[in-house]
């Protein structure tokens, strides 16, 4: 655990090293938050509730998603894939620590940094302009647990699509597919509650709802305990799949040169 703690600290520091990037990112999240807020508010000119969300729930949704986007790293992570491509993965594999455990620890150090520095400011701006929904203390604590589970599940997924770099030369295509599908079905583009029933059922059955929709529903107090169970399940399944694929991948690594 001591080792993981040290790795996590480095995960935090890596991103803390670029404060200006953080400010720029906060600004961009805030602009997107406003755009999405007004687009979805226009829907409420004709009705008062969409799939159980009133307009305040939807606005809360919009700003929470902007706040959590970086925490769950929804826009794609390819550090591992790049290490596979340039061969430095071989030195990772020769370490006495499993590669997935390393990246999970690193990511659990990165996520709190993004949660605090990329999440709080856009949300506060949104909260100052719009009337939002706030959780009771219990839901607030469950929300934090749910965000943690979301980060682990999302790392599990990101780890998987990065591993494809062992088989394909250029992961760009794989990443494009992975990102488009995960962004849409996680509820980043549109709350899943807005989907027609069949599409919503499909989205709920996929792992991506665990990345964003579930934490937000917890914050809104519109959740069942099994949804957190589902997050645990997806985190476990994705991590286990990652281990299996990693083992298959390492069997076929050919190191050229020295």
């Amino acid at each position: 655990m001591r080792l993981e703690w040290e790795i996590a600290k480095r995960g935090w520091r890596r991103y803390a090293a670029y404060p200006l990037a953080t400010v720029a990112g906060m600004f961009t999240n805030t602009i997107f938050g406003f755009l999405q807020a007004y687009i979805l508010l226009a829907v409420y000119r004709h009705r008062t509730s969409v799939g159980g969300y009133d307009s305040h729930d939807t606005l809360t949704y919009v700003w929470l998603v902007q706040a959590l986007l970086m925490t769950v790293y929804a826009f794609g992570w390819q550090e591992l894939a790049l290490r596979v491509r340039d061969g430095s993965i071989t030195s990772d594999l020769s370490r006495p620590l499993n590669a997935q455990r390393y990246w999970l620890a690193f990511d659990l150090g990165r996520a709190p940094y993004h949660f605090v520095f990329r999440g709080i400011v856009p949300f506060v701006v949104g909260a100052l302009v719009f009337r939002l929904h706030y959780p009771n203390p219990i839901d607030g604590v469950v929300f934090l647990v749910s965000v943690l589970l979301a980060v682990v599940a999302s790392l599990g997924f990101r780890f998987l699509y990065n591993l494809t770099a062992f088989w394909v030369l250029d992961v760009r295509g794989v990443m494009m597919v992975a990102l488009t599908i995960s962004l849409f079905f996680s509820g980043m583009i549109m709350p899943l509650t807005f989907f027609p029933t069949w599409l919503r059922e499909l989205a709920r059955a996929l792992p991506f709802a665990s990345f964003l929709q579930t934490p937000v529903d917890v914050w809104l107090g519109q959740y069942h305990a099994w949804e957190l169970g589902l997050q645990v399940l997806w985190a476990a399944v994705l991590l286990a799949l990652g281990q299996v694929v990693l083992r298959r991948a390492t069997q076929r690594v050919v190191v050229q040169g020295g």
């Binding site: 670029y18 200006l20 990037a21 400010v23 720029a24 990112g25 600004f27 961009t28 602009i31 997107f32 406003f34 755009l35 007004y38 687009i39 979805l40 508010l41 226009a42 829907v43 000119r45 004709h46 009705r47 969409v50 250029d170 760009r172 295509g173 494009m176 597919v177 488009t180 599908i181 849409f184 583009i189 549109m190 807005f194 989907f195 027609p196 599409l199």
Partner: protein, 267 residues
Amino acid sequence: MVDAAFLWGRLVGAQIRSQAQYRVSLVLEILGAFLLSFIDFLAIVVIFHNTPRLAEWDVQEVAFLYALSSISFALTDLLIGHLDQFPQKIRDGNFDIMLVRPRGTLFQVLGSDFQMRRLGKAFQGAAVLAYALTVLHVHWTIARVAVLLISVPAGVVIFASVWVVFGCMAFWTTDGGEFTNAFTYGGNFLAQYPIDIYSAWLRRFLAYAVPLAFVCYFPALFVLGKHDPLGLPRALQVASPSVAIVTTLVAGCAWRFAVRHCRSAGG
């Protein structure tokens, strides 16, 4: 000018030929981008699943806005999307090399990375446009055809100018690249929806000051013969080409100013 266009053609031509060497890969990438872009459009379909109209606009009209914005934005991305990687060029000193070459720096940046795969998104926009135009029953006049045809190049120039102006920030903040995204990707997102749904301050800032409303909102009002819900002068509906000229001048000045204040980051 002719000389520059000729040289640009040769630079881009060479890149197209090199990308065409891997034909299957290129076709798959374009096709993939084409298909995946529909997920983007699905968001609009989902919205209209919940409401018959978004403010004064129905789904076909918003599809038209979406298509115009997507085509312009995708073509802009094709031409200068690699400006996103520009901060890296400053950081690693590659920009310094450009400074000593006998051509304008912006010209060199523009000709340096032409990715055919980005065409997929433009094709998708064209497909949505074709759909919108078949269901909309536009009452065509010569003026409307002209405004529609010119709105795409004008939109490309406006988007490209915005990209350059905010991309200039990289000269001062090499790790602030995400700031530009708010205006480029954010601009595309804004333009895909009718601007009358945004609140007044956001409209003033992102639709008029940064003139994104001229990419497709105003041309769309003219082509569709729609009454402007905001009640703005009709002249604005045909002003996109003039606005494009102004933004080009602004972008040119901004770039020149930025390069003059460029301090090399090493290399």
